[in-house]
């Protein structure tokens, strides 16, 4: 069956089982590997993408849900050049040195991007509520929180001390 959707701004006709989770469509059919498989049952958030602007767990969302809809993945969250056209949130992610292993980070960034779109200056409680579905096994929650606040303009960027 053919599903017509928009992926990172580009129209695509995807020929696949409509029950196939969007995660595997994105990775295997569309060749976009930034979105990660973590648990398969919407427990960890590593697979978070935007469906018509809303964060969803793509491992548990069937392709049929994307019929006529727009999907945004980590590859499309910034500007035209994926490597360098970063959003302020992504830049904050770098300046705060958030990732360790990095595997959950696409999902974290997609979730946080949606949060800031909805709530440009989230409180700690709002950050908790929005981000609690995204597991970071390396435990970088403090840095994720700080990066969100830096991007939101509610916290100053961390200055790492320059001492030897």
């Amino acid at each position: 069956m053919t599903i017509n959707l928009t992926i990172n701004g580009k129209a695509e006709a995807v020929d696949a089982d409509p029950a196939m989770p969007i995660l595997w469509v994105v990775r295997e059919k569309l060749g976009l590997n930034g979105t990660k498989f973590g648990c398969g049952i919407a427990q960890c958030g590593a697979c978070t993408v935007h469906l018509d602007g809303k964060p969803i767990r793509s491992c548990s969302t069937p392709l049929s849900a994307a019929d006529g809809a727009a999907i945004t993945t980590i590859e499309g969250v910034g500007g035209a050049d994926q490597d360098t056209d970063l959003t302020p949130l992504q830049q904050a992610w770098i300046s705060e040195q958030v990732p360790q292993c990095g595997y959950c980070q696409s999902g974290q960034i997609m979730q946080a991007t949606a949060l800031l779109k909805e709530t440009p200056q989230p409180s700690d409680d709002q950050i908790d509520a929005a981000m609690k579905g995204n597991v970071c096994r390396c435990g970088m929650y403090g840095r994720i929180r700080q990066a969100i606040k830096v991007a939101a303009g509610t916290a100053e960027p961390t200055v790492w001390e320059e001492q030897a």
């Binding site: 089982d17 196939m20 989770p21 595997w24 990775r27 295997e28 059919k29 060749g31 590997n33 930034g34 990660k36 498989f37 973590g38 648990c39 398969g40 049952i41 427990q43 960890c44 590593a46 993945t73 980590i74 910034g78 994926q82 490597d83 360098t84 970063l86 992504q90 992610w93 770098i94 040195q97 958030v98 990732p99 360790q100 292993c101 990095g102 595997y103 959950c104 980070q105 696409s106 960034i109 950050i127 908790d128 981000m131 609690k132 579905g133 597991v135 096994r137 390396c138 435990g139 970088m140 929650y141 403090g142 840095r143 929180r145 961390t158 790492w160 001390e161 320059e162 001492q163 030897a164």
Partner: protein, 764 residues
């Protein structure tokens, strides 16, 4: 967040716990070079343990363009003057490769923007002997009776058989920076710089001593001559090797000790980082495999009924591989769906009836049998049992911890392409050479015919030290004829781990009239890796007996972040806290007295207490707990603060003070402390792997919980550079104090003493 002292404190004054530990000293920089690398004429600095010059063989692997000259195996200078650090460790989040590049850049006088990092190829010539030697030096040695554990054969066995198996390209033991970095890359960098200077001196016909280096440029001020390193790269390779290159002293550091931004982070933020699961995705004809192994250790597949699976869309092949079943399909999801319909019967094994209760009952029996003095001695000085009889007060306690899974975010996976007697492998592994051998065995070819492709690891934590999954993927690729991307489900990853051992540990301790601890007697079940984990020589207790009892484990065991320190940190620091309480003493005061002869420990303890403003008032129902542990040559103390006013504990803050000798990247180090703390607290609060009918009962993150944003405490990290010539690790040492700091805080807040983890069990 970091508060680094300006001047490092005096050198380590502590006596090594055991004479074996001093073996590491033999591998000092000079000793290493003297050991034959440079004397043997090899151009590789730091890895050329083997005779012969491996540069010719390695060159094609690391020189990937014209105009590049190989100065040594760990340093490459490109025509564009870009210096590449070639690092024999895997990047799994610990940031060590970036830190090692930082060390190289500093030694070579190259700017941070002009340095790149490259993982060393999985080739036997890159074997990380430093890592192996340090492990052995640290106490895991073959002639230590009763020390058998999974790592000993891994490291020692491989060390002694390295010529045959060549499997020690290892990332583990919090060792990369302090071994490869400190003893390898810095020497390599210094040597490379000296060789460049020598080449320029010869060409310009000026004294080498008049040439200065900065920002990748050689300058001879008197003559006004100047050149980029790249111009002299080839000539440098012809220079005589420096016998003992001069590395920088701390006052000369420009990048070391600084929070240089990690090289890998931009790739992980823009989504371009390639992890194991992403590798080989564009292979022509790639197919996907879902697998399920026999769920009981020792059992095999007796039969499978695949009648439903055969009919399912996208399914190409269904295989009973003896130890596991697999479905190969056009998409992973189709393979997974079909696998779920296969009915499988398994053979019985000795573990088929295993249960958590029976396992712990057998542990208890083993401890009963060991009694007050039985079991394998791990430490015995003074007269612990005699002193206990004389004590004014005797204190006993028993602690229990469960099996734990690693639960790295990236489930185990491997992509294998077998054709024409060759095999290509993409996988996340901490041991590329062992993983290569696993694939070679599976494909039925020689390891030399297997190419490992370097990828980022979506977490390691000790899980990726085994080669069984490359073996699986290669077998499937060979049997089916397709390039295969095999991905374990989260359920498979949880059920087929190599688990952190469960353990029970019993203590009896004696206090004298003044409330000082004079006797310490401990017996526990786990094999200890590293062997120092249950030892407490840094505490000034005159009579100590530490013993291990042998037990049978119905699960496969493995290295789990901080290994045996993860259990013994909890045991030791819980019991010390109980002793303090029984002595009527403040937990910090009590430890301070016991650490009187261990100045670095004492400074760390006091640092953490000061950070937490120990002793100041807290709201009703809140409490503080402290714990200290030494692991992987780093000393870390943590103070946890908990709020017990709700129906379950809430951890509000963790203060962490650490002395890792000298920290090369304070921000990266702080991140590792934060990470170790959250990893430790996650396990302490929530997790256990339990067994029923020989099978693991947990399956995914709903029943094996991860700490989440809303549960995570604020963490502050302070660094003491207490021994600049004696570096400690970063990836693991933050973990061991976390659990006891938490449970001690719960006790302080509520009077409830948690002696069995996880904590959540006590608050349902």
């Amino acid at each position: 967040m970091n508060d680094m002292s300006d001047t490092p404190a005096v050198e380590a004054k502590e006596t090594p716990a055991k004479p074996e530990r001093s073996r590491a000293a033999k591998w000092s920089r000079r000793g290493f070079i003297g050991a034959g690398v440079l004397a043997g004429g090899a151009l590789i600095v730091g890895v050329g343990i083997r005779s012969g010059n491996p540069v010719g063989k390695l060159k094609p692997l690391v020189a990937n363009g014209d105009g590049e000259a190989l100065i040594n195996a760990w340093v490459k200078i490109g025509a564009d003057n870009l210096v590449t650090a070639i690092v024999p460790h895997c990047e799994m989040g610990q940031g060590a490769n970036s830190t090692i590049a930082q060390m190289l850049a500093d030694e070579m006088d190259v700017d941070w923007d002009n340095v790149a990092v490259m993982d060393a190829p999985a080739d036997g010539n890159y074997v990380s002997q430093h890592t192996v030697r340090t492990f052995i030096g640290a106490g895991t040695i073959p002639d230590q009776p009763g020390q058998a554990s999974f790592m000993e054969p891994t490291y020692d066995g491989l060390f002694t058989q390295v010529g045959k198996l060549a499997g020690a390209y290892i990332t583990g033991g919090s060792s990369s920076v302090r071994t490869t970095g400190q003893n390898g890359i810095r020497v390599a960098g210094a040597a490379a710089r000296e060789m460049l200077v020598a080449a320029a001196a010869a060409e310009w016909d000026v004294p080498a001593g008049e040439i200065t280096t900065a920002s990748g440029t050689l300058t001879h001020a008197p003559s006004g001559k100047s050149a980029l390193y790249a111009e002299f790269a080839s000539a440098a390779a012809e220079q005589e090797l420096p016998r003992a290159p001069t590395t920088k002293t701390i006052d000369q550091f420009k990048l070391m000790g600084r929070p240089a931004p990690r090289k890998d982070i931009p790739l992980k933020v823009n989504g371009t980082a390639v992890f194991g699961i992403d590798g080989g995705s564009d292979l022509p004809g790639l197919r996907y495999a879902a697998v399920k192994a026999a769920p009981v250790v020792g059992a095999e597949v007796a039969s499978m009924d695949a009648s439903a699976a055969k009919e399912m869309p996208g399914v190409l092949q269904i295989l009973n591989m003896g130890d596991f079943v697999a479905v190969v399909a056009d998409s992973y999801w189709q393979a997974q769906q079909a696998l779920g319909t296969i009915e499988t019967a398994y053979t019985d094994s000795e573990n088929s009836d295993a249960s958590t209760d029976a396992m712990f009952a057998s542990f208890t029996q083993a401890l009963d049998d060991a009694g007050d003095t039985g079991g394998n001695d791990k430490a015995d000085y003074g007269d612990a049992t005699g002193a206990l009889k004389d004590a004014a007060k005797a204190v006993t306690a028993e602690y229990k911890v469960p099996y734990l899974a690693h639960a790295a975010m990236e489930p185990i996976n491997c992509t294998a392409w077998v054709r024409d007697g060759k095999c290509d492998i993409w996988t996340s592994t901490q041991v590329p050479l062992m993983a290569r051998d696993g694939a070679a065995e599976g494909a039925g070819i020689s390891a030399d015919d297997v190419t490992m492709h370097t990828v980022f690891l979506g977490g390691g934590f000790g899980r990726r030290l085994t080669p069984e999954y490359t073996n699986q993927a290669a077998r499937l690729a060979k049997a089916t004829g397709y390039p295969i991307k095999m991905i374990w489900s989260r359920e498979e990853d949880t059920a087929q781990d190599f688990y952190r051992p469960a353990d029970i540990s019993r203590f009896s301790g004696g206090l004298d009239e003044a409330g000082k601890c004079i006797s310490w007697n401990n017996v526990h079940c786990s094999d200890d890796e590293p062997g120092e984990a249950p030892l407490i020589e840094f505490y000034d207790i005159p009579n100590v007996l530490v013993r291990g009892a042998e037990v049978h484990n119905p699960l496969r065991l493995g290295a789990w972040r901080s290994v045996a320190h993860s259990q013994h940190g909890f045991f030791i620091e819980s019991f010390v806290d109980e002793l303090a309480h029984e002595a009527g003493r403040d937990p910090v005061e009590f430890r301070r007295e016991l650490l009187a002869k261990s100045p670095r420990h004492l400074a760390v303890l006091e640092g953490a207490a000061k950070m937490a403003n120990w002793g100041s008032a807290l709201p009703e129902g809140h409490g503080r707990g402290i714990a200290i542990a030494r692991s992987f040559n780093s000393i870390v103390a943590e103070v946890a603060e908990v709020d017990m006013t709700a129906d379950k504990p809430r951890i509000t803050k963790v203060h962490c003070c650490a002395d890792a000798g000298y920290v090369m990247n304070p921000n990266g180090f702080a991140a590792q402390m934060e990470s170790g703390i959250i990893y430790g607290l996650t396990a302490a609060m929530y997790d256990e792997i339990t067994i029923k009918d020989g099978r693991v009962e947990q399956s995914n993150f709903h029943d094996y919980r991860m700490m989440r944003m809303e549960d995570a405490p604020e963490i502050a990290v302070q660094i003491i550079n207490g021994a600049p010539d004696n570096l400690g690790g970063a990836g693991e040492p933050g973990l061991p104090p976390a659990a006891p700091a938490l449970t001690n805080a719960i006790f302080a807040a509520s009077g409830k003493r948690i002696r069995e983890l996880p904590v959540a069990k006590h608050f349902t």
